[in-house]
Symmetry: C2
Subunit: 160 residues, 2 copies
Amino acid sequence: MNIGELAKRTGLTNSRIRFYESAGLLKTVDRRPNGYRTYSSDAVLVLELITTAQKAGFTLDEIRTLLPSDLERWEHDALLDALRKKVRDIEALEHRLAESKAQLVGLIGDIEAKPGDMDCAANARRVLSRMLGKAVDTPTGAVDDKPAGKAMRRPRARAV
Amino acid sequence: MNIGELAKRTGLTNSRIRFYESAGLLKTVDRRPNGYRTYSSDAVLVLELITTAQKAGFTLDEIRTLLPSDLERWEHDALLDALRKKVRDIEALEHRLAESKAQLVGLIGDIEAKPGDMDCAANARRVLSRMLGKAVDTPTGAVDDKPAGKAMRRPRARAV
DNA sequence: CTTGACCTTCAACTTAACTGAAACGTTACG
DNA sequence: CGTAACGTTTCAGTTAAGTTGAAGGTCAAG
């Protein structure tokens, strides 16, 4: 089949298919005497594999190292390792997301919990100081930017 | 303070600070007669806000629309809306990650569950057909007619 | 006066995964 | 034969969030 037919069958664009070939992901391509690419039906499978793996979070680089030239001869152990590592990556990302979410939810609560008698500016400072985990200057005084001394160690901002 | 001092205080690079200014994120900057930028201590807060918001998943574009010119005058409602929306975004991402992970775990199990009497090629086809949720051609005319083959149809793999 | 540490601007480069245009060749149809 | 619909290559551009480097101005010390 020609590239247009393959594109129709997979739902990908011609340019994307050519791009995958140039990236070394699609090696099952022959040329007809006129220069046209011609594909077997395996190419459909390979492209579907690629898009599926992408949705699961694999980069094209990773996919290239895992895809066998022959669809029936996978590198069994390397594949399982990569799949397990990707699961661990997802779990790490889930963890980071949960932390970000908790921080955001806490911040929302903090903003909404403005005491009725506090004005907006004061509340802004209160929320800001909680969010950055440190003291925040009240703005009324003069700003001093004298160097005046060096090692003033503050706690690192919490990584999210 | 000069840009080098600000960089030291925030842990950012000079170029990154200039970049944030050019991106419209850091407007609290004056120039001395020699052209040098000069910052008040508020700039430290603004930069810490920016990096904190980034860690929580906000893009610089989003941060720019939310950051007030005056740290005490936030657009209260827009800010809360954005925070809530970001929480929903995170939840959607968590959902997609859970699906991806489930698919990967299922795939790992499927690969490991190779019947002892099945050869690798046949297992590859079996796993492939399950993963892509459809029939996969058996190559070279060898017809796979194991009778109970499709008995345990699991639910389709969902797009992620 | 020279050295070295700062500071300035501006353009180009980076990564990932493509997309689109330009300019051209091939095929199918009437 | 004309032309529309395919196909080809090559190159440039896109997005995000910066980094890097060149070429040069400023400042304090020795």
